[in-house]
Symmetry: C2
Subunit: 231 residues, 2 copies
DNA sequence: AGTTGAATTTCGGGG
DNA sequence: CCCCGAAGTTCAACT
């Protein structure tokens, strides 16, 4: 990995065109040829970048560029697409290289699949007498997150989201439409379950007779922990 | 901006939990307190990070951490949420600071609004005799990208995307439902126009009687350029 | 400030 | 390999 601090301008040509005027920035060149252009602010997204695999070629600037004060020109060419990043370096303030090795990668906990597993294990969170039919119930238009039965024996389709948005309600509506054509399942009720549900999504769900349930992941994990400890 | 290369492990606690085992990585500390943790690979997204505004506190490791070889511990606390990033530095291989100043920011060309402008200017791309009614035709549920008339005088609602996905078809469907209630406009036909249309979106669109059109941005821009030069 | 929709999205999983 | 959906999405525009 190479770290360069330089006064530079940057042009990107590819899926769109973009330009960065002359300013001092951090350039990160990774060993797979990818390049990140960062300013001293904003969040994790670079101002501009080239995705790997890519190759960096260093060119001597032509006469016109020299007159503009360009000391060195980088052409970062994507290996797979014709995207190209051109960096005009006017002044290099720092330039170091470092051996990092391969990274073991990130371990996550608390994503949607965890939520789904927990809700399937603790299906009675939705009400007494609920029983699980199965997770990832496959239909022609995609898998229903959880299919269950309520205490009266009626089928319930559950759509699970971390953040409940209008799209999720649309998705569940399509599933319900399809499931209700199956006489072995019909009538199928819908439950929209999420850690947080947007007001608009809630209104749309109610309008379509879909119940909304907000889930407390920490509490569910807590129950899970207790169960793990006890048994 | 501070650049640190260190052998470190990282833990994130916030909207989810995540852990990075001990390895050598780049740590970027920006002046707004945000921190990026990058490996020497992958694309522009860091392995982990803290969004600004945030504050970095350096702690002396406790006894247990010292035994594990932790030389220094960083706690990066988000100012707005209770998200927290903890970096255990075992060995610092590089540590420099740099003054970058404020960045003038990125200038883009070729995003959806450009496509919309081009299609509105070249509405006959959709067929001979098409005329523009207006761009951004406002309705109660949001603006229709383009409203036009075909050669027979019938109203056409056009939804424009760079990448045509199922969501766009749903969106256009909602617009059509609403527009067709207006007797001055009805009957309104739908066209789903995008640079690329996903097969599933195409099927759904056809099922609902919506025409699909793929757009060639470069060609449209070319026509635009020629027109600009001629007139 | 909250909401909505796009993104050079990136990333991961499943067929 | 492509396709699809989730993301600590981020980002910008608009209400």
């Amino acid at each position: 990995m190479r770290l360069v601090i330089a006064r530079c301008s940057v042009d990107y040509v590819g899926r769109l065109k973009a330009h960065l005027p002359l300013a001092t920035r951090l350039l990160v060149v990774k060993s797979d040829g990818s390049v990140l252009v960062h300013s001293d602010g904003g969040s994790y997204k670079p101002l501009n970048w080239m995705s790997p695999p890519a190759t960096l070629r260093v060119l001597s600037p032509d006469e016109a560029d020299l007159e503009d004060g360009v000391a060195e020109q980088w052409t970062v060419q994507s290996a797979k697409t014709d995207d190209r990043l051109i960096v005009n370096l006017h002044e290099v303030l720092h330039d170091t290289s470092h051996e990092l090795g391969v990274d073991p990668g990130l371990i996550k906990d608390g994503v949607e699949s965890d939520l789904q597993r927990l809700l399937a294990e603790q299906i009675e969170t939705l009400g007494a007498g609920y029983t699980l039919i199965r997770r990832e119930y496959y239909t022609a238009i995609g898998p229903v997150d959880i299919l269950a039965r309520d205490s009266s024996g009626a089928t319930v389709a559950i759509e699970l989201k971390r953040r409940g948005d209008i799209d999720g309600v649309e998705q569940l509506t399509r599933y319900l439409e399809l499931l209700n054509r199956d006489p072995r399942l019909a009538p199928v009720r819908g439950i929209f379950a999420a850690q947080q549900i947007k007001p608009q999504a809630r209104v749309l769900a109610q309008d379509r007779g879909i119940d909304c349930v907000t889930l407390d992941y920490d509490a569910m994990r807590g129950v899970d922990d207790v169960e793990s400890r006890l048994f």
